[in-house]
Symmetry: C2
Subunit: 357 residues, 2 copies
């Protein structure tokens, strides 16, 4: 059933039927009802490709899905996608994923732009030397970034969280609790968020008179394995008097590994070591559900997805000019994994004064 058939059936022109269906005012209410009813009855749905061609609007937003060797789409993505989808639903837009290996990424963006298959795209996993911003702008593709680049760029739309502030606050708390030997198990510093987080930690240390060099900083892909490996490296052979007492972790997955290492080494939280983790709010893995509930810097990645979709749609429809740069504050939530530095208590009897849970 197409428009022509429907209009013949109704003894109306295609114009009128189209207008009735799309809510234009210049059609009599009685006619509109008749049209809507017939459309409903015969199950007429406009062909989306024809409509896209005629209007020039695609009704969908795009994303270049990184695939290939060494590219692990991580669980963050699915949470983000959930948020995006939730908002997309309310605006009746679809999501179009174009798979591309990283080395042919820019080609993918060009193709998307030239083929007009989407109305706008979102960028995520922003890197320090982000070239995509200049690229998509040059291509005239409306976009919103999740995160931001370190490169200077004229006002472009992004939604980011205050990674610097979050990790500053987290580090400051540890310092206030008397920790002076800090470790930071960070994500890959090719990504801007990891750089910002490091900045936050060093700023807090500087404010406490600690030089940045005293921070044990390691960065790697955020998974369980790396968390374990780096924690082992930091703690296995380290003397209790020199090893870190405060650890910052960039993700719950890393923390899973870190906690595993601690268990294996017999280190107790928070008696021997305090930890604060960034929590992206996964429904399937919660910081309060650790044997020792984790203190976290918390920011919902799902909420960010929804917001980005919202803004992207606004930019596409012209309701927003697209230069607003949002930086969301991050909550610091204290749970049992943080406590006073062991050196602040009697040395040599670490943990003894606190009952095991």
């Amino acid at each position: 059933m197409n428009l022509k058939q429907l209009s013949e059936l109704l003894q109306l022109s295609q114009t009128t039927v189209s207008r009735a269906l799309n809510g234009y005012p210049e059609v009599a209410e009685a006619t509109r009802r008749r049209v809507l009813e017939a459309a409903q009855r015969y199950g007429y749905k406009p062909n989306s490709n024809a409509r896209k061609l005629a209007t020039g609007r695609a009704g969908s937003i795009g994303y270049v899905l990184p695939v290939g060797r060494n590219v692990d789409l991580d669980p963050h993505f699915v949470e983000f996608l959930s948020g995006l989808g939730e908002h997309a639903l309310t605006r009746e837009v679809d999501l179009s994923l174009t798979p591309a290996p990283r080395e042919r990424e820019s080609e993918a963006y060009r193709r998307i732009a030239a083929s007009r298959s989407v109305d706008g795209i979102y960028l995520s996993s922003m890197r320090n030397d982000e070239r995509r911003i200049a690229l998509v702008r040059e291509l005239g593709l409306p976009f919103v970034a999740h995160g931001r680049s370190l490169m200077p760029a004229e006002g472009y739309a992004f939604v980011d969280i205050d990674n610097e502030g979050a990790f500053h606050d987290a580090a400051r708390l540890l310092l206030q609790l008397g920790h002076t030997r800090l470790a930071f198990i960070n994500g890959d510093t090719d990504f801007t968020f990891a750089v910002h987080r490091l900045d936050g930690v060093t700023r807090a240390m500087a404010a406490h008179g600690l030089p940045a060099e005293t921070l044990k900083h390691h960065s790697a892909a955020m998974n369980e394995d790396n968390g374990y490996r780096l924690a082992m490296m930091l703690f296995r052979d380290a003397d209790a008097a020199t090893r870190p007492t405060g650890v910052l972790s960039a993700s719950m997955f890393m923390t899973l590994g870190i906690v595993r290492a601690f268990n294996q080494l017999g280190l107790k939280m928070p008696q021997d070591v305090s930890i604060i983790t960034h929590d992206d709010v996964f429904p399937f893995l919660k910081p309060e559900s650790f044997t020792v509930p984790l203190s976290t810097t918390r920011s919902s990645i799902r909420a960010a997805g929804a917001r980005i979709c919202e803004r992207l749609v606004n930019i596409i429809t012209g309701a927003e000019t697209g230069e607003v740069q949002e930086i969301w504050p991050v909550d610091l939530i204290v749970r049992a994994s943080t406590g006073p530095a062991p050196s602040a208590r009697k040395p040599g009897r670490r943990g003894a004064e606190q009952a095991a849970e």
Copy 2:
């Protein structure tokens, strides 16, 4: 730059240019080169909507993305998507996600079908009373299912793993090791895979003369919390002489919670309790990376994604008729989390003969 402009520039008809670009034979080699070069130089890319309209092919495969309250897209999805994307890349198709709340799911399928926005779709998270198969078939939408329904249906294309066999083998191993009190922490039994797994376990028990009622079976959404909660329920107040000694777990996320409960209760693997988990092969969370490496039934969900994309493309292009039902075997991999049942050794000295690691 569109086809008309390009053809005028080249002093050729649109027909010829279009044919040259699409590799039709009836165009002179010299002309083709000239066209390709010009297209390259002026950055001509065909408008995808126009092409879709003209050909009737969408060049993309669809998926109805469940969103809304209580719907957590879980990390399985992202792995599956990775696989799908990897293959989609090689066939130059995009993925189109249509978000829909579960109660308006069928409407979404209808819209997709009527609007011809995709060439085919894949279905996942198959339920026992799956209605989508009949629906999409009625709609004439080519599809491949990941998993299968319990409902009888004439040959439709699916890719599934041998959940029954996997859990049968896992349960049999535990039984062979002398475990007689088994527990199964299963996924939601609305989903077919969970039913199949339960079937496998009970079959193995029956073969060992154990009635199905003796199995402690609990099913819930597969996350850390539920794993913890159910393990606590099973073990917290249970007598060592009556509590389960062998546990089967439906997912790594549940097992995270189960292990947490064991740690808290002081239960050692495998001395006090053996565990076998299903592993979907997440790159970010590996069974060998647990303090006690986990025995698993293993099947890559990513590989399934790639295969489903492949078959879907084949069905769309007519290279496959679409009635093949693939059931993949599942590996049973034994690691340190399984051992002989404690009752098989001296009672009262549980675990003492094995050094703590």
